[in-house]
Amino acid sequence: MAIRSLTVNGKRVPVTYNDPQTPLLYVLRNDLGLRGPRFGCGLGQCGACTVHIDGVAVRSCITPLSTVDVNKKIVTLEGLGTPEKPHRVQKAFIDEQAAQCGYCINGMIMESAAFLAKNKKPTEAAIKDALANNLCRCGTHARIVRAVKRASA
């Protein structure tokens, strides 16, 4: 058993592990008790596990723990905002009622928050392209695009 320090949602936290190849997703969910990042495929294909590492949207299910250290700033959905004080992207998703089951929504919000940080006034087509590798099965796409647009306004 080994110990490593991470910086998650602004706090320095120690985590223990048996295997340095453990995907970051399992550490965040099972060791740190976070619920924002979700297990969807473990293959980097669906986006449900997305977190920010130094502001970049990353698939935590294929990010080995060994590649992340205390100097990298990890932000999860919980670190963006709370029901009481939501981030503007989260608020836009509430305003547009942009969820059905909501399982993919972590990825949609994390991906679009990182995208909007670099693209202030994106077109609808640009939003769709930015989310092209985030899968939603319930068919909430139109609302999600509207929410991202609203957050960019």
């Binding site: 048996n18 969807g40 998703f93 919000i109």
Partner: protein, 736 residues
């Protein structure tokens, strides 16, 4: 606005209201000490409780599968009781606490489950009013926010009247309690924000996949490489080197690894060296439809029979048209793979899962483990969107077997390959259709045969773990009521529709969203379009011509979708256009199961004739499901129906070799992505004074045919095999 109610009205409203709960009621505290909570569908207490703070607890046997239905159910109860939404808590799908209202399926949660809740709330409200009338000494009462008032001064709250006591009121479906008049609804019919979304977008919501219990271990099942393969040898040596692995569990051919951490369980399962027997039980996928046609039939269900089809088809001068349609095997495709937690304590099993039917799962787990059902409690925890019977029940069975073996609670999280490979599938559907027309193009006969799997005697799908372990479970899985909508809504003089129920189907079947209704309507609504084209008629007018003229709501739906889409009256196909990319439009219609929700759809598509690629650019939907509870929630569901089914139509197909499913991820089983999603225009027809019907499935029934008919309109080529991959489209164009 408050509602004036006289005590006399309240008492006359229900023959059942003879018991005074204040006297008969027992303390809810007594229940906590062991007295069982009522679960019968004939008791108000099964559905509702009000505590001393005025909090209303709704006990719903129907569960939220990610549709937002629990917001709608709260709306129904809040309005009927005149309490604010935020005073309602909802307990769902717990076999110890919630009544068995049947599985959450078939788009009946509002229609049946919601109406049972409305009756319970109406009965509770009447009893509360009657009690208040006694207390306040007057019949002229108003209710607001759970407080009953006489004039402006005297008042008594629900909490004071009933707080923590039982209602002890019987419900009799034959003598329904008088409900509020629809004109007095304040919450029903309004786009109320969903209660779960703030938590879901901030990471505070507890999905099944987040659920944990103290002392819990993580389990992983080692799946056979072939359906029906048997274990020949297990070598545990490599697993023992992995720290954290607690146990290898074997029960027949069921094999699993349990570890202290999820990742160690995954590594352990991968490290386990297992020798399996060879097994090739599946047909050659390239010859799937020959296989389906040749499968032994166990019975033939005639789902409609009008006039004399055989005679009409062979009548002199009758013009015959025949076509065969097929719809591939599909998976549910939940974004979160199935997950469950099981705990054994004192010989009793508690199972947490996202099962659509905890009361049925309870019986299935009890049967599998040889327990009495009263030793099993199943509790629903919402998972990722579930559009039918996917892997949740199987994950629950996996967890139960592992937990039994190790005596700690065990959580089982399926992998993506588990879900794509082992969830039960929407079975392959094959339909032969023929029809005759007279010289003027009038349809004289319609004759169809659907090849679909038989239905087992239980309404359940056999559990994978039980099969592997050699434990009892349903031998023939129930595929859903897939005969539905093999019959048609059109009034031809001669109609015969038949379902040939087949003994087997290649992969374990279950009900995917809109089961049978989607595949059958696809064949019917496309073939109907073929007849319209053959008659040189506008396909929308041709539908109106054959609808029952007395069915005004159906006619209105079609007329309104025509207006919404600015439908141009003309026969299909469109006149040949030049260039590679051609555009077309198609219409489709359903009256769901021929008795409820009406939906009309118009699709606009573009077809690239050089690549065979179809782009669905726009969908118009007109939807009448009677009384609408939550218009925005309803729109959300309809949008979901459209997008999910566009995906099914264009690209989805489960792939397999002779041994097992080979499409085990999102690359080999792709679904629709953002840039491919059509614009959707929805018109809701609200009928507040009619019964509310379901909306979770009906729109999906007509999406494939609307697309198919639009492709025909654009190209003159009729596609009859789903999915419409570019390769198939190119082949169909070359063949024409």
């Amino acid at each position: 606005m408050n509602i004036q109610i006289s005590r006399r009205d309240a008492l006359l409203g229900s023959g059942a209201l003879i018991v005074s709960f204040a006297l008969a009621g027992s303390s809810a505290g007594a229940q906590a000490q062991g007295a069982a909570k009522p679960l019968a569908l004939t008791e108000v207490d099964s559905f509702l409780a009000i505590d001393k703070t005025g909090k209303v607890t709704v006990y719903s046997g129907k569960v939220d599968l990610g549709t937002g239905i629990t917001t709608a159910l709260r709306q129904i109860v809040a309005d009927e009781l005149d309490v604010p939404m935020n005073r309602i808590e909802l307990v769902q799908g717990d076999t110890l606490l919630t009544p068995d209202q049947g599985k959450t399926w078939a788009s009946v949660t509002i229609q049946i489950g919601g109406m049972q809740l409305r009756q319970a709330a109406a009965a509770a409200r009447q009893a509360l009013l009657a009690e208040a009338a006694k207390k306040l000494g007057t019949d002229n009462l108003t209710v607001a926010d759970g407080v009953i008032m006489a004039g402006g001064r005297k008042k008594v709250s629900y909490a004071e009247l009933i707080g923590d006591k039982n209602f002890a009121i019987k419900l009799d479906p034959k003598q329904p309690v008088k409900e509020k008049s629809p004109k007095d609804y304040k919450i029903v019919g309004k786009s109320t924000p969903r209660v779960d979304i703030p938590d879901k977008v901030t990471g505070r919501f507890t999905y099944m996949q987040d659920f944990r219990v103290p002392g819990m271990l993580h389990g992983r099942v080692v799946r056979p490489p072939a359906i029906g393969a048997k274990i020949e040898k297990v070598d545990e040596s490599a697993v023992k080197k992995i720290p954290g692995v607690a146990r290898v569990v074997r029960e027949g051919d069921f094999l699993g690894v349990v570890a202290t951490s999820e990742w160690d369980a995954i590594r352990g399962a991968e490290a386990l060296k297992v020798t399996w027997s060879k097994s090739e039980t599946l047909p050659d996928q390239a010859k799937l439809w020959e296989h389906v046609r040749a499968t032994k039939m166990v019975k033939e269900d005639t789902t409609s029979n009008v006039g004399n089809v055989a005679e009409a088809l062979t009548k002199e001068g009758a013009k015959l048209r025949k076509a065969t349609y097929d719809f591939a095997i599909h998976t549910h495709g939940s974004i979160g793979p199935s997950c469950a937690v099981a705990e054994f304590k004192d010989g009793k099993l508690t199972s947490w899962s996202a099962s659509q039917a905890t009361h049925d799962l309870r019986k299935q787990l009890a049967l599998m483990l040889g327990l009495s059902p009263d030793k099993v409690r199943c509790i629903y925890v919402e998972g990722a969107g579930c559009y039918g019977r996917n892997g949740h029940e199987d994950a629950a069975a996996d967890a139960a077997l592992l937990a039994k073996a190790v005596s700690n609670p065990v959580r089982v999280q399926w992998s993506r390959a588990d879900e794509h490979g082992w969830d039960p599938k929407g079975p392959p559907t094959l339909a032969d259709l023929q029809a005759s027309t007279d010289a003027a193009g009038n349809v004289t006969a319609w004759d169809s045969v659907f090849y679909i799997p038989q239905a087992g005697p239980e309404l359940n799908v056999g559990l994978v773990a039980a099969d592997l372990a050699g434990m009892p479970t349903a031998k023939v899985s129930f595929p859903g009521n897939i005969f539905q909508l093999s019959a048609i809504p059109y009034k031809f003089p001669n109609v015969k529709t038949v379902c040939r129920r087949l003994e087997t189907t290649p992969l374990r079947p279950s009900w995917i969203r809109t089961p049978g209704r989607m595949q059958n309507t696809y064949a019917n609504e496309c073939f109907f379009d073929e007849l319209a084209a053959a008659a040189g008629a506008d396909p929308l007018e041709f539908r109106l011509k054959y609808l029952d003229p007395a069915d005004k709501r159906g006619i209105e739906v079609l007329n309104r979708v025509a207006e919404l889409a600015k439908w141009e009256k003309r026969p299909s196909p469109k006149k040949a256009a030049s260039g590679n990319v051609v555009k077309g439009r198609g219409v489709s219609y359903t009256k769901y199961e021929l008795v409820r929700t009406y939906v009309g759809a118009v699709a606009e598509v573009e077809v690239d004739r050089s690549t065979g690629r179809i782009t669905v650019s726009k969908f118009y939907i007109t939807h009448d499901c009677g009384q609408i509870i939550n218009p925005d929630g309803l729109k959300n569901q309809i949008e979901g129906n459209v997008i999910q089914t566009v995906s099914r139509t264009l690209m989805e197909e489960v792939k397999f070799d002779r041994s097992q499913v080979t499409s085990l991820d999102w690359k080999s089983y792709p679904i629709l992505k953002f840039p491919e999603v059509p614009e959707i225009v929805i018109e809701l027809i609200d009928r507040p004074t009619e019964k509310p019907w379901g909306a979770g499935e009906p729109a999906a029934a007509i999406i494939p045919s609307a697309i198919s008919n639009a492709v025909f309109d654009a190209t003159g080529v009729r596609l009859r095999s789903i999915p419409y991959t570019p390769a198939k489209v190119l082949a169909a164009m070359q063949a024409t």
